[in-house]
């Protein structure tokens, strides 16, 4: 069998694998989100469907799929239905270069980090298409808001990631992970603690999570770019958002928390550590969502332009200076 064919088969398996992984994550995270929210407010969360409401997300998905697909009058139907797909498809590509374990990786590319950053910015395009094609002024306004937010938070995110590449000298996520082998002291979080904090905050903004969830805010700001979407049109945006959450948390644990390496010196390395770190970060995101009130839009942009951007620039320059010395 030619190497080309072998690679192709491997890639197809990897894509199917990430689809399954994405779907499973969406189900589990929706359930976790509602359960955590419940427990923080000292109520049970979903409880009736299945043991402790475990089948609730499945039933919700079924309900979502059985609803009618509506296209608004005078909307640009092609762009309108392209938008959710465009938001969903790149997420699958995002899972490819993330090393979940020494051998659990979809596609080991040298430019893994670049690939993730490039494909994740597709979301902005999908959002603006969705808002524009809906033939709804609130949709357009919501899209403008969401894009202003995504673009703004992309910059400090890029700068902090750049500081990591300055340190490691590579864009390959596997190599960045390999450099953090050994004990917990080798992790990038120690020299890059400021970058880590900025990355976490920018991650909230980038994935439209509370307290920066002005792109959605379905109950308070009458949604936004996805006002007109029904059924799985909305469902795809929803799943894509959870996909981005998982990707960002995975990238964060690869960049700063040593990826699949254990904290004790490399005896129990494996995908379980990666999952543990990713889910710890996801838990933190959910925890923060149910703790902090939503910021106002000017506050959101102020946090980014007045604080995150200068701090990220400072972090980058300091890293460059130290690496040069």
């Amino acid at each position: 069998m030619s190497i080309f064919l072998q690679t192709l088969i491997y890639l197809v398996i990897a894509v199917i694998g990430s689809m399954v992984w994405l779907g499973l994550n969406a189900l589990v995270l929706v359930y976790c989100e509602r359960k955590f929210a419940g427990h923080i407010q000292r109520r049970p969360g979903p409880f009736e469907v299945g043991p402790h409401g475990a089948l609730q997300p499945l039933i919700d998905g079924l309900k979502l799929m059985s609803k009618q697909l509506l296209t608004p009058d005078n909307s640009d139907a092609i762009l309108y239905w392209l938008a959710p797909i465009l938001s969903m498809i790149p997420v699958l590509a995002l899972f490819m270069p993330i090393p979940y374990g020494p051998s659990v990786i979809g596609m080991d590319v040298n430019l893994g980090l670049l690939l993730i950053l490039a494909f994740s910015s597709f979301n902005g395009l999908a959002v603006i298409l969705a808002g524009w094609a809906s033939n709804n002024k609130w949709g357009v306004l919501g899209a403008a808001r969401a894009v202003a937010q995504t673009v703004a938070y992309e910059i400090p995110l890029l700068l902090t990631v750049l500081a990591i590449t300055f340190m490691t000298g590579t864009l390959s996520l596997t190599e960045i992970t390999a450099m953090q082998a050994g004990s917990i002291l080798n992790w990038n979080i120690w020299p890059q603690w400021l970058g880590f904090i900025i990355f976490i905050i920018a991650m909230f903004g980038e994935t439209n999570r509370a307290p920066f969830d002005l792109a959605e805010a379905e109950s308070e700001l009458t949604a936004g770019f996805h006002t007109e979407y029904s059924s799985m049109g909305f469902g795809l945006f929803f799943m894509a958002e959870y996909g981005y959450m998982v990707v960002m948390c995975s990238v964060c644990s690869v960049l700063y928390l040593g990826g699949y390496h254990d904290p004790f010196g490399g005896y129990t390395d494996g995908w379980w550590w990666m999952l543990l770190k990713t889910y710890a970060l996801l838990f933190f995101m959910i925890w923060a969502r149910w703790t902090f009130p939503r910021v106002r839009f000017d506050q959101l942009l102020n946090i980014n332009w007045k604080w995150l951007l200068p701090l990220a620039t400072f972090n980058l320059l300091a890293t460059a200076l130290i690496m040069k010395l």
Partner: protein
């Protein structure tokens, strides 16, 4: 210097409040739930006592089937929702002996003593669909004959069922009190769960 403090130092100090917030919600996350899963368990009696449901009558201590009510209409006058209806009892027809006594008194030029109407009401109905549970009737009741019930699990399928006869309810409660209490199937949520 003031500007520097206001714009740079204060925001950094304010970040601490975010940690405090996380600590509070984290603490609540670890605490046991206080919600009661209704069909499977019910509120324990201690917590049910403090629940203020619809209005109901209080019986006389010696005769629990008869209300303390004196039909003064204070509750009806003070009710902003007009959900209470009280009908006074009429005076009973005098017996032949009483009639004779009255006639004798009249002839003798004395004061005629007519039989008085009993004070407790003939009818006392209550429309829960109108009630706003303000408690004005309870506050203004001179003989303290009204109270909030702790009838928490009352459900009706029509407006008519919510229009109840409080006298009949009091009678039922009186007979229930004398009879042994029926066992409820659902177990009450235990007190330790609340702690």
């Amino acid at each position: 210097m003031g500007k520097f403090r206001e714009n740079i130092i204060q925001p950094i100090l304010d970040c601490w409040s975010l940690m405090v917030g996380l600590k509070i919600t984290g603490k609540y996350f670890c605490k046991p739930l206080i919600t009661v899963h209704y069909p499977r368990e019910v509120i324990d009696d201690e917590n049910l006592e403090t629940y203020g449901g619809h209005v109901e009558l209080i019986g006389k201590p010696k005769d629990p089937a008869t209300p303390k009510c004196i039909s003064c209409m204070m509750c009806v006058t003070n009710c902003p929702s007009k959900c209470l209806k009280v009908v006074k009892q009429k005076a009973p027809k005098p017996t032949p002996e009483q009639e004779a006594a009255m006639a004798a008194a009249k002839e003798a030029g004395e004061k005629v003593v007519k039989p008085k109407a009993p004070k407790n009401p003939a009818k006392f109905t209550y429309d829960y669909t109108l009630c706003s549970l303000c408690g004005n009737c309870i506050d203004n009741c001179p003989p303290k004959s009204l109270k909030f019930s702790n009838n928490m699990y009352w459900v009706a399928t029509s407006r008519k069922e919510m229009n109840i006869d409080l006298l009949a309810r009091l009678k039922e409660q009186a007979t229930e009190l004398s009879a042994p209490a029926p066992k409820t199937e659902a177990k009450p949520a235990t007190a330790e769960k609340e702690a």
